[in-house]
């Protein structure tokens, strides 16, 4: 569709067809330009054959090669992926348990418990970051362990902020569960474990996958909390990029960022697709 077609009106605009009004479309267009122009230029100039990063000098992959040859950058990238994988597994299990607990049981101080579980979501990142720094230095958490055990402090911090998010996603999924299914299974003689394995887990699966993808992206994304828990030998990708950005703006950072953007976009689209599939055919997914 070209720009002219966007603003041409074949039929008169109805009073409620706000989106067909020109000034609304211009606002929409301007907002999307504002949101996307920086990212698009960043991606475009990662292919630019120029050191200065300002003028287009032709297509080149040399900054990708440079980024690949940068050991520190690759190490940080591997660290980030390792942390994200491990923390996602732990966070998904803990989040699913939290969701089941709050969905199923009535217990004393339930409201307070729910509030405490929401705390990691609402408190400012900087507060959580300094809390983690204070905690790990106070308990004397070992920092000179061999890889990947030296990443344990960062991994623990990531689990702490991401599992409440998983709990929210899984719980939203559980709201649609018909309790009669689990009751029927129990009436037919299934044990608690069998009900959990054969009824609850299959029903929760889309929520678990969406929650896990969310946890994975949150972990890859995090800078502030990691910044306070990482040491000189445990640098993650965002922390590395931060130190490079402070130093100077280079096309190498553009190339590395583009790879990360591509990764997150793929993961996001996957998560959204899974979610919409789960919403459209609940009985099929549950079956």
């Amino acid at each position: 569709m070209n720009l002219a077609a966007l603003f041409r009106h074949r039929e008169p605009i109805g009073p409620l067809e706000y989106t067909r009004r020109t000034w609304m479309r211009l606002t929409l267009l301007a907002t999307f330009v504002f949101l996307y122009a920086p990212i698009v230029t960043l991606v475009a100039f990662s292919f630019n054959d120029s050191r200065r990063n300002i003028v287009w000098r032709g297509f080149s992959l040399k900054y990708y090669e440079k980024a690949l040859a940068n050991d520190g950058l690759i190490e940080a990238f591997v660290n980030s992926l390792t942390i994200a994988f491990v923390q996602t597994i732990i966070a998904t299990i803990l989040g699913a348990l939290t969701a089941l607990l709050l969905w199923r049981f009535r217990f004393p101080f339930r409201g307070g418990y729910e509030g405490a579980m929401a705390l990691p979501i609402v408190i400012p990142e900087i507060c959580m970051g300094v809390a983690m720094l204070a905690f790990f230095s106070r308990v004397g958490w070992p920092t000179d362990l061999p890889w990947p055990l030296n990443l344990s402090a960062i991994t623990i911090a990531h689990v702490s902020f991401s599992f409440p998010f998983v709990a929210v996603v899984v719980r939203a999924r559980l709201e649609g569960f018909n309790r009669e299914f689990s009751e029927a299974a129990q009436d037919l003689g299934a044990s608690e474990w069998q009900v959990f394995r054969d009824v609850m887990v299959p029903f929760m699966r889309p929520g678990l996958v969406a929650g896990a993808l969310l946890a994975f992206t949150l972990s890859l994304d995090d800078f502030v909390i990691t910044f306070f828990t990482s040491g000189p030998d445990t640098v993650t990708f965002p922390v590395k990029v931060y130190s490079m950005v402070r130093f100077s703006v280079t096309p190498e950072v553009n190339a590395a960022s583009t790879v990360l953007i591509a990764l997150t976009v793929v993961l996001t689209v996957l998560a959204l697709w899974l979610q919409s599939r789960a919403k459209l055919k609940p009985e099929e997914v549950a079956g």
């Binding site: 929409l28 949101l35 300002i54 217990f107 400012p124 809390a131 720094l133 994304d221």
Partner: protein, 306 residues
Amino acid sequence: MEDWRRTPLVFWVTSLPPTLWLVVFFLIPLALVWVMSFGELDGLIDIKITGTLANYARALDPLYLEVFGKSLVFAGFTTVISLLVGFPVALAIVFASPRWRPILLLLVILPFWTNLLIRTYALIAVLRVRGFANFSLEWLWDQGNTVLALMGLGSYQLLGDRFEPLELLYNNTAVVIGLVYVHMPFMILPLYAALERLDRSLIEAALDLGASQFRAFLTVVVPLALPGIISGGILVFIPALGSFLTPDLLGGTDSQMIANVIERQFKGANDWPFGAALSFLLMYLTFAALTVRALVNRRAERRGGA
């Protein structure tokens, strides 16, 4: 929902792992910072808990009050600008054709999933003196001059004799632009959710009864979207207030926010007790904002129920 005493074993198996994790790796660290905020430095690194309030008193020093004030002003501006831009955008998405709506929504969500640091870094390349914003302005300036020359006014140099690039980076404006850029989706999504539920026949009724579009908007659409406005406002205000990266990378020396001061206490100045006190003051501000939202929601619910 069943009582936990009916199946205590299942209850404990489900509740213990997440509860222990939350207590050990979240609540205890927070409590540690809280206790530390009542302590004082003993030597270079040791901290003695003396129950002193000196750290909080020091936060009331005009120097730090100004930082708090500045953070509140930045977050406030960010919220208002996001609302003013986000409202028409949300409205346009709600009233878009069903084919376009999911695409537009996805376009709003996607940047929000892109790494915050990378997005902030991308803004630097746009805003700096030899950046794309200034190049675009220079191009416009050139075009303007060409047009003037064609009109025979070229020799008067109405647009100035040469293009002066704007200082867009490393100042307060850059921080607010960055904060709006980063938090805009938080505003658009709740607004969209509220406007989508809105009964369109109410707007039609207002228009039929002779209200202008503007009046129908002010007296029908805005009040009905109020829960979305409040939610979006809080979702933008809270993270904006505690921002660290945006002022750190885009701001100048005089555009530091609370988070930057806290970071300095822990990483550079090594005054952990004072940093701890500042963290908790920031947290109390966050809770105050959340309480406002809870109160407004409760009032809206009561009015809706009556």
